[in-house]
């Protein structure tokens, strides 16, 4: 496994690709966008932005699943967690995201919040704690949605339910392309998501809104191959949907995962934090699984009084690539990684948190 990966971490190949990209200089700035937290993490981890030419900008779009999770859903999760019957299980990076409160804050006040690596861990928790109600707070894109679906299909114990906040990538890209002054010249597409979904939705999007697109993996060579593909598409003016992660991504995706999502969920209009409602961009449980809906089970409805963002927080604009983090009035003064106001300041690879670390002192 690690020997296979070594090919994609080869320093010589990485430098050759970086030089090849630099030679494609179109003589003007080119702005690309990725929409994946793991891409941002990999870019930071390997320090790849430092290898890109100055004319090539790569911004983070609305691809951090915890950043786009609306405050009203986080608030529901916190209220569920405060119910003494409930064990709330969720992903680690959700815990500190601020809304009216955070899961970390309610945990400190006695709520039973557990960090899991996926829906199946939460089901195992439900089996191990038959006297408790285990609620899986399901966030993330198609990558995690298919695992939630699989867990629900596998007849989990009756004390397992789901607070569903899954989101879909293609409707967000579609909406983003319709916003003036926002659209990049190309999208670096998320390799994990598309391993699940396949390419058809993106081909459909490209046919309606021509824009350079390339699927990228997560090793340095994968990322630079996809960026080179995107720059070539921009340079020759012929956008297409390139697959630069063929060892994982098949055209048709993962049929079993697609079927699971389709059986368990239906697309619904959904809110994206700081951005607003995007048509058919979220997943809700189908009627056959309505009994697993945690909000219904515990009689909770979203509180309309919960503000989506704190006054002054511009995370929504940052998520759209419309605002540099440093231009946000809260950046570095009212909002820091230690005391985050907006979601982009929470995760290590959150756009604002990364910029804060790299700020000049």
């Amino acid at each position: 496994m690690r020997d296979d990966l070594a090919v994609f971490r080869d320093v010589g190949r990485v430098h050759a690709l970086a030089e090849a990209i630099a030679r494609l200089d179109p003589g003007r700035p080119v702005r690309l966008m990725h929409v994946c937290g793991t891409h941002e993490n990999a870019l930071c981890q390997f320090g790849l932005r430092d290898l890109l030419p100055a004319w090539l900008g790569l911004v983070a779009g609305p691809g951090c699943p915890v950043c786009v999770c609306p405050a009203s859903d986080l608030d529901l999760a916190a209220r569920l967690a405060m119910d003494p019957r409930v064990v709330l299980a969720t992903f680690g990076d959700v815990v500190r995201v601020p809304a009216r409160t955070s899961l970390a804050a309610v945990r400190a006040r006695g709520a039973d919040v557990r960090i899991v690596y996926g829906a199946s861990d939460a089901v195992a928790l439900a089996r191990a704690l038959p006297a408790r109600e285990v609620v899986f707070f399901a966030v993330g894109f198609e990558t995690t949605a298919c695992t939630t679906a699989a867990a629900l299909q596998a007849d989990p114990p009756a004390n397992f339910s789901v607070l569903c906040s899954h989101r879909l990538v293609p409707p967000a890209l579609d909406a983003l392309l319709g916003l003036p002054g926002v659209a990049p010249e190309g999208f670096l597409l998320p390799g994990h998501v598309i391993t699940v979904t396949g390419l058809s939705a993106y081909r459909d999007l490209a046919s309606r809104r021509p824009i350079a697109m390339a699927v990228g993996g997560f090793e340095p060579v994968d990322l630079l191959l996809a960026l080179k593909d995107l720059v070539e598409q921009v340079a020759d003016g012929r956008p297409r949907v390139g697959n630069d992660y063929p060892r994982a991504v098949r055209d048709g995706g993962n049929p079993a995962a697609i079927a699971a999502i389709a059986q368990v969920f239906e697309a619904r209009d959904a809110a994206w934090r700081g951005i607003g409602t995007i048509p058919a961009s979220g997943l809700g449980l189908r009627a056959a699984f309505a009994g697993r809906d945690a909000a219904a089970r515990f009689g909770l409805v979203p509180d309309p009084e919960v503000p989506d963002t704190t006054p002054g927080c511009r995370c929504g604009d940052v998520l759209l690539g419309r605002l540099e983090p440093e231009a946000c009035p809260l950046f570095g003064s009212g909002c820091t990684p230690d005391v985050p106001v907006g979601p982009c300041m929470v995760a290590f690879e959150g756009t604002c948190a990364a910029r804060y670390r790299h700020r000049r002192l």
Binding site: G37, Q45, G47, V139, T144, R357
Partner: protein, 339 residues
Amino acid sequence: MSRDGDSEVITLGHGSGGRLTNDLIRQVFLPHLSNPSLDVLGDAAWLPRVEGRLAMTTDGFVVSPREFPGGDIGCLAIYGTVNDLAVGGAVPLALSAAFVLEEGLSIAELRRVAASMGAAALRCDVEVVTGDTKVVERGHGDGLYIVTAGVGRLRSEPPTGPSTVCLGDEVVVSGPVGDHGAIIAALRNGLDPGALTSDCGPVLPLVDALYGAGIRPRFLRDPTRGGLATVLAEFAKEAGVTVELREADVPVRDEVRAVCDLLGLDPLFLACEGRVVAVVPGGQGDAAVAAFAVLPEGRGAAVAGRIVPREAGPVALATRYGGRRLYDTPTSEPLPRIC
């Protein structure tokens, strides 16, 4: 002692101060920790007369799981305390240990922990001269907590401190980083740790070797909680410089990288329990590595970086691809990422 099914367990009676407490001390702790000071079971131990200044440290141990490949909470408590003295520039003289036991704890496990502490103390040539046990009701503790204190004699030339750091000083680590943190993370998340073991062990021989080679460090730390990046970030902020680490020169085992890749963790933030990081004057890095590397505890030592003028972050990792990744002190415990 009381029986619960087939196994002896701690009861509230063991904390009463009466016969059960006495039995526990004599049958579980003394066989492994015996020494003239402890054996009299007095309220305070008398220490020998010492020339020079004293150093003192205290530490609490709450690790879960309590037993792991390469160690347990018992040896961790001894090494952790001795190591804090060692990197503080002191040679350990005596330790204390207080045990907070949860009702229901297996006495067989407690015996193993006591044996492990005894072996670790022997290895460090230090004695636990006084101790205490308390028992809390079931549900009021996580099995076993150990709180220690340690007293040591300060060296005549302790580390000179962050204020004496110069540009070009070198950063030396005594071995691969993140082993302990990786194994704990693997065990907590149900991963098979394979051949990986904790690096839990004493750093005193390493510090002695450094001084033995005629090197007086500017700064010494054992990168425990928060790992190498956190320790160096704290140091760099205090010194007003940036520590530049070269990714290719920071020793990390493949198994540790694999655990980190799977769990979304960063090896530079993972705890070590038997390593030391030293900032030494420029030009003395290779000599420090040579001094470390002759010891079994110093296998894999390396010059991992150097001190550069203050830049955006307190710690900058020069990646093997020529990019830079900046580190700061972490905000909270490492949380696994989603996707």
